[in-house]
């Protein structure tokens, strides 16, 4: 039986080509994701291994909020610089180097900020005793107006040793000369790194004489644990000592966690692709079995057991899975190699290691095979149950099985799903509502997939009616897509899934944009907005310059940081109390934001108050890197403009977090009465130009910039969903091509009674378009309907204005028609080329 199976697959390789391709594409996504993870993981662990060389580290003993710099993890209270001499005095310590670093903006030779692919930009204090740093050329920076640049940074900046340029350090702009080139031990993944002399670094990054940590290097013969034991007694209660090994492990673990999120995110999309691919495989095998009914019956008649028949089909599925997975692994790795080249071209250097490991290969091959076998199992079972007597029948008639069971299962799933979604809508806001919506949406999608054959018959009859005037093409095409509704539904189902996600994403995106626009127009009263790009801040000095302009009445910055609030890490915004009413209008639920901030009290969002049990007048403990304060909840607000749960006075935030660790991405500017807005805009633009990264916008531009950010996310989602849509289209090609083979005789008959080649190709094109449009219409309908519940369920987090992007949806529908036409080209040409006589006399 094994031989029969293998011969079968070899003789009909063409039939399985698209199934193999479907597996290959899905597996390539999986393998690529793992390889990417491995590559990123090894890049970042290399950075850790070559930059974190200390034998022990002294750091704060108390955890603050989530870290906003470096590799994630948690930030801690700062330790005093005074500890350095104390530590160096301990026996066995060779040297102690404080961690002097902060955000930086480097202006390159072309006058723009040096930054690649959104990687961060840092300045470090250069200490010649630091073993991680290797001076390659020039000399070390020795004065406040000198810097050294990391090798890759130097290359991408276009600067040369001896050039002068500008850097923005700790919110101040300064003219500097590039005096040296410094190499770190590994590729830096595109980070921009600037070195300044230690005195400058201390002044800029430890203005209060405190740093995040101090690296300690042991004298020869002193082990890491010895060193920790000797240091522990001298550092005081607010500091702790850990071995270098432990810090590196912690950092690596934090990196792994972040990469884990990315991997999971990507794997979700890979999973969708594989799921969609399974439809192709299932269709291929079920058509294969249907066509070979007589051969299978013959095998049964000569004594093969049902199990043997089943096994032979499953064996073919295994071959399809293995071949597809093999191709997929290679393609996935190739993809990552290409990605690395592309990123390197953009200035993001990643490690040179080939990201191939046994785990990736094993998991990929296993997944590919499992998907293939699972998809073929149902057709294989049907094959096993073919009665031997079928072999003797002249005409093989495969009775169309009843759709009742699928309809019942589908309706049950739909009812449950819709019930769950309705429940989520009835009780919005609570954590459980999101889960209910998620499960409900999943059940609805599965339910629609289950009832789709029934749906196909009804919907296609209506859709097909449009084509009826094209006689006989319309009638034939409609007949063909409705004759086997299960097959049509499976083919369209693959597209349906992709399109449901596309439709939902489109609705969510336009809802987010409409909501943002509504929030800005309702809550923001500023005349202009200053914006810094992601992972940088509006420099403090720029803010001072803007405030100094005579036409500017006020410039209110929104600083954010992560603090530990009542024990858990929470995003916090700090604003000047005077900004309330001047730059921003907020709906007070209880108390008043303006008077609360003026009194040094904090405000919390209504949802946060519900979740965390805060009430007006409660005292809340806030812990940052620089200290701990308790504050009274003076207001409960409902303001989506603050995307954070807690708002505090700017002074309080500065007490808790050093200015360098606060992120100021937005500044609202109001002008004095009577000033000409165009003139003020010109002044503002001229003022912030030296800081390179800051842009001036009016509120409309601000809204469209936020909308652009949403669009960027949407583009990424579309790209990730694109593969599953491509696979779905391959599924249409597959079904058409196989049904042309299956219908050879009928096609011969039609041609014999005079159907022209073009008419025949039109029939196949019409089938293809009907299938694609059916999948798209149902998919979009499901996606849009589910996404439309979001404003009800998630109104609290800012999605309040439902907006359905009808024009995008219509474009999708038009795209479906185009896709349908394209998918029909191959099968259509193939069908038109069939010789009439041979076709009529095929068995």
């Amino acid at each position: 039986m094994g031989r029969v199976a293998l011969r079968g697959i070899r003789a009909h390789l063409v039939r399985f080509f698209l199934s193999v391709l479907a597996v290959a594409l899905g597996v390539a996504f999986v393998a690529g994701t793992f390889a990417l993870r491995t590559m990123l993981g090894s890049t970042f662990t290399d950075i850790v291994a070559t930059t974190t060389l200390g034998d022990a580290y002294v750091r704060g003993a108390h955890e603050a909020g989530a870290s906003t710099s470096g590799f994630g993890g948690v930030s801690r209270n700062l330790v005093p610089l005074d500890l350095v001499p104390t530590i160096e005095a301990v026996d066995g310590v060779e040297r102690a180097l404080p961690d002097l670093q902060g955000p930086a903006v480097l202006v390159g030779a072309d006058g723009t900020a040096v930054q690649s692919t959104q990687a961060p930009s840092f300045a470090f204090g250069y200490d010649a005793r630091d073993p991680a740093l290797h001076l390659v050329a020039g000399r070390a920076p020795a004065a406040a107006d000198e810097v050294a640049l990391e090798t890759a940074t130097l290359a991408s900046s276009g600067l040369a040793l001896g050039d002068t340029t500008r850097v923005v350090l700790a919110g101040e702009i300064r003219e500097v000369r590039v005096v040296g080139e410094v190499r770190l031990g590994s590729a830096l993944a595109g980070a921009t790194v600037v070195f300044v002399d230690t005195a400058t670094a201390e002044a800029l990054f430890a203005p209060d004489g405190e740093v995040a940590s101090i690296g300690v290097y042991a004298a020869d013969g002193v082990s890491q644990s010895d060193l920790v034991a000797r240091l522990a007694p001298v550092v005081g209660a607010d500091a702790q000592v850990v071995t270098g090994e432990q810090l590196r492990d912690e950092t690596t673990a934090a990196i792994e966690q972040v990469l884990g999120f990315i991997t999971t995110f990507l794997l979700v999309f890979a999973g969708i692709s594989l799921f969609v691919g399974a439809f192709i495989i299932a269709n291929t095998f079920s058509m294969w079995v249907r066509q070979r009914t007589r051969e299978l019956a013959l095998l049964r008649a000569v004594g093969a057991s049902p199990l043997q028949v089943f096994t032979s089909i499953v064996l073919q599925a295994v071959v399809v899975g293995l071949v597809g997975a093999g191709v997929g692994v290679v393609a996935g790795l190739g993809l990552v190699v290409v990605l690395r080249r592309v990123l390197a071209g953009l200035g993001m250097q990643l490690t040179g290691r080939i990201p191939l490991d046994g785990f990736t290969v094993l998991v990929s091959v296993l997944i590919g095979t499992l998907v293939s076998v699972a998809a073929a199992a149902v057709p294989a079972r049907r094959a096993a149950l073919v009665p031997p007597v079928e072999a003797l029948r002249d005409e093989v008639t495969v009775p169309e099985r009843s759709l009742r069971r699928r309809a019942v299962v589908g309706i049950v799933l739909l009812v449950l799903g819709i019930g769950a979604v309705a429940w989520a809508m009835a009780a919005p806001g609570a954590d459980a509502a999101g889960a209910r919506l998620g499960y409900g949406a999943g059940a609805v999608v599965l339910g629609v997939l289950a009832v789709s054959p029934v749906l196909a018959r009804a919907v296609l009859r209506v859709l097909g009616a449009v084509l009826l005037p094209l006689r006989p093409v319309g009638r034939l095409a409609r007949g063909n897509v409705t004759r086997n509704p299960r097959r049509t539904a499976n083919t369209a189902g693959a597209l349906m899934i992709g399109m449901a996600l596309v439709g939902a994403s489109a609705v969510i995106a336009s809802t987010a944009q409409a909501s943002t626009s509504a929030i800005v127009s309702k809550e923001a009263t500023a005349d202009f907005v200053l914006r810094a790009p992601p992972s940088s801040s509006v420099p403090a000095q720029a803010l001072d310059d803007v405030r100094a302009l005579p036409d500017v009445r006020a410039a209110d910055s929104f600083a954010s940081a992560a603090l530990r609030v009542d024990g858990s890490s929470t995003a916090v915004s700090g604003i000047d109390p005077a900004a309330v009413g001047r730059s921003i209008v907020v709906e007070d639920v209880a108390g008043s934001l303006a008077s609360a901030l003026a009194a040094g009290e904090i405000a919390v969002q209504r949802t946060a108050a519900d979740d965390r049990g805060w009430a007006l007048g409660d005292r809340v403990t806030l812990t940052g890197e620089s200290g701990t304060r308790t504050a009274r909840v003076g207001a409960i607000i409902d303001s989506p403009a603050f995307g954070v749960p807690v708002v505090v006075p700017a002074d309080l935030l500065s007490d808790l977090v050093p200015a360098a660790q606060q992120v100021v991405s937005t500044v609202f500017v109001t002008v004095v009465a009577g000033a000409a807005l165009d003139d003020v805009r010109a002044e503002l633009t001229a003022t912030v130009r030296p800081y390179v990264v800051v842009t001036v916008m009016d509120p409309e531009e601000f809204v469209s910039e936020l909308a652009d950010q949403v669009d960027q996310v949407l583009v990424i989602l579309y790209a990730l969903l694109g593969l599953s849509v491509v696979i779905a289209v391959l599924g249409i090609v597959n079904t058409l091509a196989l049904s042309v083979i299956e219908r050879t005789r009928e096609i011969g008959l039609l041609r014999a009674v005079g159907l022209g080649r073009l008419q025949l190709a039109s029939v196949i094109t019409a089938e293809s378009v009907l299938t694609a449009v059916f999948g798209t219409v149902v998919g979009l309908a499901v996606g849009v309907a589910l996404a439309s519940t979001l404003p009800t369920v998630f109104g609290d987090v800012g999605l309040r204005e439902l907006a359905v992007p009808w024009s995008s949806l219509l474009a999708m529908l038009a795209l479906a028609v185009v896709v349908g036409v394209l998918a029909a080209v191959g099968p259509g040409v193939r069908a038109a080329r069939l010789a009439v006589l041979q076709a009529v006399s095929t068995d």
Binding site: D394, E395, T397, R471, P472, R475, L476, G479, N480, T482, R483, R745, E746, L749, L750, R751, A752, V753, G754, L755, G756, R757, Q759, V836, L837, V840
Partner: protein
């Protein structure tokens, strides 16, 4: 050429394959098919009878020689013109798989007219349908029809467009004798009552007995001919050609 000849072939040669393995399926065939007659083509398996019909109908291209149907040089036609010919001048009835399963009986019958985008002559359709006894079957799908009914629908389809010639390839090959008799009787009536010209390939002497004329093929040539044959006369001629009459193979 007299107008009583609806189609003819001259020096028709068909060779399959090349070199030493080449097979001469037709070896210089000359036939005239008379308008308004039911002509049967008979012969043993491999005698070339199917090939002759395929060449006459424009389904296959002869290696040499010419075929003219209703005044049109079929053997010289492009695929595009052949398609047009099949739409308007020629009707087909095959042994099996005659009907498109997704269309109803009526839709199958009018399919050639639909393809040609020609109007349906309701009176003629009604006449054909009534003659074939299909009036109450028109809404059925092929799978809901018996084998005999399916072949009658196929006949109706072949006739409804009033083609110059109907080619029938073993039209009763898959039918029981009662159904076969119905179908053959109808083909004969279509000739006698509607003036249709029909060419039928068969290996069955009873079927041939319905014809006006029987052509006998052997080894790619026309070797004999009978007018107004009886079953006995056909069997006798066949016996003379091939030895004892064969069964149904």
């Amino acid at each position: 050429m007299t107008s009583s000849v609806i189609a003819y072939a001259r020096s028709l040669v068909k060779v399959y394959g090349e070199g030493p393995t080449a097979v001469r399926a037709l070896d210089g065939v000359d036939v005239d098919l008379v308008r308004g007659e039911l002509t049967a083509i008979m012969g043993a398996s491999g005698s070339g009878k199917s090939t002759l019909m395929h060449c006459l109908a424009g389904l296959d291209k002869p290696t040499s020689g010419s075929v003219v149907v209703d005044g049109e040089p079929v053997s010289e036609m492009s695929e595009r013109r052949l398609t047009k010919l099949r739409r308007t001048r020629v009707g087909f009835v095959f042994q099996a798989y005659n009907l498109v399963p997704t269309l109803t009986a009526l839709e199958n019958i009018t399919l050639p007219l639909d393809i040609a985008r020609r109007p349906v002559d309701a009176d003629h359709l009604d006449l054909v349908v009534r003659t074939l006894g299909l009036t109450d079957r028109l809404g059925h799908r092929p799978t809901e029809l018996s084998g005999g009914q399916q072949q009658r629908v196929a006949c109706a389809r072949a006739l409804v467009a009033r083609p110059a010639v109907v080619f029938a390839d073993e039209p009763t090959g898959n039918l029981d004798s009662t159904s076969a008799a119905e179908v053959l009787g109808f083909l004969r009536r279509s000739v006698d009552e509607l003036g249709q010209s029909v060419v039928m390939v068969t290996h069955d002497a009873t079927s041939a007995g319905y014809a006006h004329r029987v052509l006998f093929l052997a080894d790619g040539r026309v070797v004999d001919e009978l007018r107004e044959p009886t079953r006995a006369a056909v069997l006798e001629t066949l016996g003379a050609l091939t030895g004892p009459p064969r069964g149904s193979a």
